[in-house]
């Protein structure tokens, strides 16, 4: 099936599962609100009754920012630590929820059930965690390749600044390409795990590499098609965001809504990746592999 058709199908499946979408958004929003509580309290103490707040509203507040960061340096450090911890917690949560997400998209005939969703999340969590650890090895390899490229580029462009800048851009894009590629491979590994009830994650991971290389053009095409939609949404968000003057309560409210709308759409893109990739994988493996592994499926 053409990747465009898979893409559209994916969008339909995501829209069809709005409850799941909102659950994911809810987790992200809730965790972010928890992280912001200590910050809000101190910001309030410093600026709620200060005219410097006017500078903040007008977007000037340079001194305000530095004063806050200096006089509350411990809080800022704490927030950074909390952010990292929160990020790791959210990472684990995402690994957990991926099982539920894939379960929903694979069992397309069933209507969404929160119970089923979380049951699948729990069922596949350990396996996905092992896949995550396995993928880290490849990420490290990607970082080493990046470091090697950095050394090479420095050697080539050692005294030529335009080349240095060009190489740095190239290197950044290449590293992102590698990381996206690894992410895509392991996304198919997760799909294979759920679809074919695989237990051996090492084998599953390697087979996913094989799968992607066999269908390199289409897998990459589908991935970047979805990513392009994400990029377009980012442009729209940024463009319209600049027009929102957040110096009044109404403006702040509109800004908040617009930001959350974008955060929601970002999660939708994440779901679209899963949905489209599930469709693609099913199109290219399901019929004969289900027969092949019939005895293996518990």
């Amino acid at each position: 099936m053409e990747i465009w058709t898979l893409f559209i199908q994916g969008i339909n499946r995501v829209i069809h599962n709005k409850k799941m979408w909102l659950i994911l958004f809810g987790f992200q929003f809730l965790l972010s609100v928890i992280l912001i509580i200590p910050l809000k309290s101190q910001l309030g103490q410093m600026f709620d009754h200060s005219l410097m707040g006017q500078e903040i509203l007008q977007g000037i507040g340079g001194s305000a920012f530095f004063e806050f960061a200096t006089f509350h340096s411990q809080l800022v450090s704490l927030e950074l630590v909390l952010l990292v911890i929160g990020g790791l917690v959210y990472l684990c949560l995402s690994i957990f929820l991926n099982g539920g997400i894939l379960g929903v998209f694979i069992r397309e005939d069933e209507s969404f059930s929160a119970h089923q969703f979380f049951e699948n999340s729990g069922l596949y969590f350990c396996r996905f965690l092992r896949l995550f650890v396995f993928s880290l090895g490849f990420i490290v390899v990607a970082l080493l390749i990046d470091r090697g490229l950095g050394w090479l580029f420095r050697w080539i462009a050692i005294d030529i600044e335009p080349l240095q800048v060009g190489f740095r851009i190239l290197r950044t894009f290449f590293l992102l390409f590698l990381i996206f590629f690894i992410n895509m491979v392991f996304a198919y590994a997760k799909i294979r795990t759920v679809l074919l009830e695989r237990q051996d994650m090492f084998n599953t991971g390697l087979r996913s590499w094989s799968f992607v290389f066999q269908h390199m053009g289409k897998t990459l095409g589908l991935f970047y098609l979805v990513a392009s939609l994400g990029f377009v949404l980012l442009l729209i968000y940024t463009g319209i965001g600049k027009l929102i003057g957040a110096s009044t309560w109404f403006g702040i409210f509109v800004l908040f809504l617009w930001q959350q709308f974008y955060a929601l759409s970002r999660i939708g893109i994440r779901l679209l990746f899963h949905s489209a990739q599930v469709n693609f994988y099913k199109e290219h493996t399901e019929p004969y592999l289900r027969a092949w592994f019939k005895e293996d499926i518990p």
Binding site: K40, D48, M52, L91, S247
Partner: protein, 646 residues
């Protein structure tokens, strides 16, 4: 043949020295330390061979029994020098590449007497026996007041790998603090400090005649004016002359591009890396702004030229430094116009030609006199020509002016140290803020207190009175007192010589309806009973009592304005002397108080905390809501990025 060539060369050199074009008809400075230096650069060994003739005149009232010289380059000789010890032994690239720098005096004679064997290293600052940055030559006969002596020195200087404003990188050379430089005999003693991790320099004024012999393909820039260039085989000899300066630096690189322009009679030369060509106009624009501003503000730039050196890629260690008539700047390929680093650095380093170059303070002992005053000058110029809110940065929606920059630097070290102390004795990390930002804010605050016109007269008087001399901090303070017509020692005692904090705070505000009389009162010798107004009664004459408490959190006492604003538009401004720890204002007005603000015009830019300078009756949650909205989104974005890897 070789000998003939050498003799010919020496004859030519002698003729060249005689034919130097005098720059100033009359000396601008005492010219008590005049140098003639012949130097050959060995581009392979990265070494300089030099022959120096110093004519030193004793301008003191004392008989001088010895000479002391700076040998700055020895700071980079090994990791036991005072310089590296103060850096915690971290030798950086010098240690990694083993490309140390040093200077050896191979011979020295004074008035014809060879005193090489009498040479000894001394350590006036720290008793570090391994430090060789100060050399002492005891004299067999003392030098009486007014007498001039000739000192001849042969030396070899090994340039380090580009490091701390000096050195080489492949075929690029920046040569500073490279020759034996005589110290300053002042206040009946030699003032000749060792080279420390954060100190700069101090020397007497004179005439410099320098012949630089270097392979012909090199483009050379230096302090002063190029007099002539002579071919000598595969080399060229560049003859420079600088008058009424106290230092001489030079640079050479075959790949320099050159840009020249004359502005109001001053020749501006930019030696730059081709990759930074987009910054050349920015450098020149900044120099022109500096020339215009300083000329109008304190006095005309006396020299005929200024050279701007833009270091090539990988040589930024030599950037951002000042030498008489030569400054080093810095940029990057296609640096956006909103990032004002090229302008800021150029303006700052050019400003040093006034404060350090012409007004020659002791940078070891009173670094703020050049760094602080230059930072203040830089703020004036950048704000005037590049906008107060955008003078440092205006890029991708982020704006920053000089005030925010200096304030943010200063508030990190508020009570750490005082401004006035020997530069190498600042507590760790204190040099930058205490020499640059805090003095700049101190002068800015002073300007706001006494008015810009008075401040301008102070700066002009200071410049005119102390140009080509060596002022102390008290000399500046005396001029402030003289020009302002008032004693401002109280100000400098607190902020220059003390490490106390300046912080005023509106601690609390309250406003409420004034109670109408209720109870028994004596009126016209009679007792009357007043019922008071009922809660439901409304009159046109409701008054409100407002109570405002202002607190002096810091120890610095400066009179400050307190502004109180009411709902009906009334504004009450009072002046508080700040002597007590707090003051309370009680006002009865027909309207409620809206807010109170201390220092409403933000005159006291030294105040460490602007956000507590005001207090509103009603909380205004909008700003925090806006900030929290943004932070919430950033947190969501960060979490989303984490989830990508899952």
């Amino acid at each position: 043949m070789k000998k003939c060539g050498l003799v010919t060369g020496m004859i030519l050199l002698s003729i060249r020295f005689c034919w130097s074009q005098v720059i100033f008809e009359k000396p601008l400075s005492p010219r008590n330390a005049n140098y003639r230096i012949e130097v050959t650069l060995d581009v392979e060994k990265k070494q300089i061979q030099g022959h120096e003739i110093l004519m030193w005149r004793n301008i003191s009232e004392d008989n001088v029994h010895e000479l002391q010289f700076h040998l700055y380059m020895n700071a980079f000789k090994n990791n036991q020098s005072t310089y590296f010890r103060e850096r915690g032994g971290r030798t950086g690239v010098l240690g990694k590449k083993k490309a140390w720098g040093w200077i050896d005096v191979t011979s020295i004679s004074v008035a014809g007497s060879d005193l090489t064997d009498a040479l000894e290293f001394i350590h006036p600052d720290d008793d570090n026996e391994d430090d060789q940055t100060v050399m002492r030559i005891p004299l067999s006969e003392s030098i009486p007041p007014g007498q001039e002596i000739q000192v001849e020195v042969d030396f070899i200087t090994q340039l380090p790998y580009v490091f701390e404003r000096n050195g080489y990188y492949k075929d690029f050379f920046f040569v500073a603090q490279w020759f034996p430089k005589v110290g300053v005999y002042i206040d009946s003693a030699w003032n000749c400090h060792q080279y420390h991790a954060v100190t700069e320099f101090f020397a007497d004024y004179g005439v410099y005649e320098v012949n630089i012999t270097i392979p012909r393909e090199y483009i050379v820039g230096a302090t002063g004016l190029l007099q002539n260039t002579t071919e000598l085989g595969l080399n060229k000899i560049h003859h420079f002359r600088a008058e009424d300066v106290h230092d001489f630096a030079w640079t050479a690189w075959p790949q320099y591009r050159t840009f020249k322009e004359t502005y109001h009679g001053i020749d501006i030369t930019v030696l730059y890396d081709e990759d930074h060509s987009s910054s050349v106009r920015r450098y020149v624009g900044a120099v022109k702004n500096g020339l215009d501003f300083f000329s109008e503000w304190v006095g005309a730039y006396p020299y005929p030229n200024v050279t701007v050196v833009d270091p090539p890629t990988n040589c930024m260690a030599v950037g951002g430094m000042e030498y008489p008539t030569l400054i080093t700047v810095g940029s990057y390929w296609k640096i956006p116009i909103g990032i004002k680093i090229p302008e800021m650095v150029t303006v700052h380093e050019f400003g040093h030609n006034y404060w350090y170059g012409i007004v020659g303070n002791n940078e070891f002992e009173e670094a703020w006199l050049d760094e602080g005053i230059t930072s203040y000058s830089e703020a004036r110029i950048m704000n005037k020509y590049y906008g107060e809110e955008t003078s440092m940065l205006d890029f991708m929606g982020i704006r920053m002016g000089e005030l925010a920059y200096h304030h943010s630097s200063y508030i990190r070290v508020i009570r750490k140290d005082r401004i006035l102390r020997n530069a190498w004795t600042y507590i760790g990390g204190g040099y930058g803020a205490c020499s640059y930002s805090k003095p700049a804010l101190m002068l800015w605050t002073l300007e706001n207190i006494i008015g810009r016109d008075s401040m301008d007269r102070i700066m002009r008087t200071f410049f005119q009175r102390w140009k080509f001399k060596h002022p102390h901090s008290q000399d500046f303070i005396d001029i402030v007192n003289e020009v302002a017509g008032e004693d401002y020692n109280w100000y400098f005692d607190q902020v220059l010589k003390g490490s106390n904090e300046l912080d005023y705070q509106v601690a609390s505000v309250w406003t409420g309806k004034e109670r109408t009389p209720k109870g028994i009162f004596e009126r016209n010798d009679e007792k009357v009973v007043l019922p008071g107004a009922s809660m439901k009664q409304k009159t046109d004459k409701d008054n409100y009592r407002s109570v405002i408490k202002v607190y002096r959190k810091g120890e610095v006492i400066i009179p400050v304005d307190v502004l109180m604003v009411f709902e009906n538009g009334d504004r009450v401004r009072q002046v508080w002397d700040g002597k007590e720890r707090w003051i309370k204002y009680e006002l009865v007005k027909p309207a409620k108080l809206v807010f109170a603000q201390v220092d409403p015009d933000r005159k006291l830019v030294l105040d460490s905390n602007f956000s507590n300078n005001s207090r509103t009756i009603k909380s205004r949650r909008g700003p925090v809501a806006r900030l929290c909205t943004k932070f919430l989104f950033w947190f969501e974005t960060t979490l989303h990025l984490f989830s990508f890897f899952g």
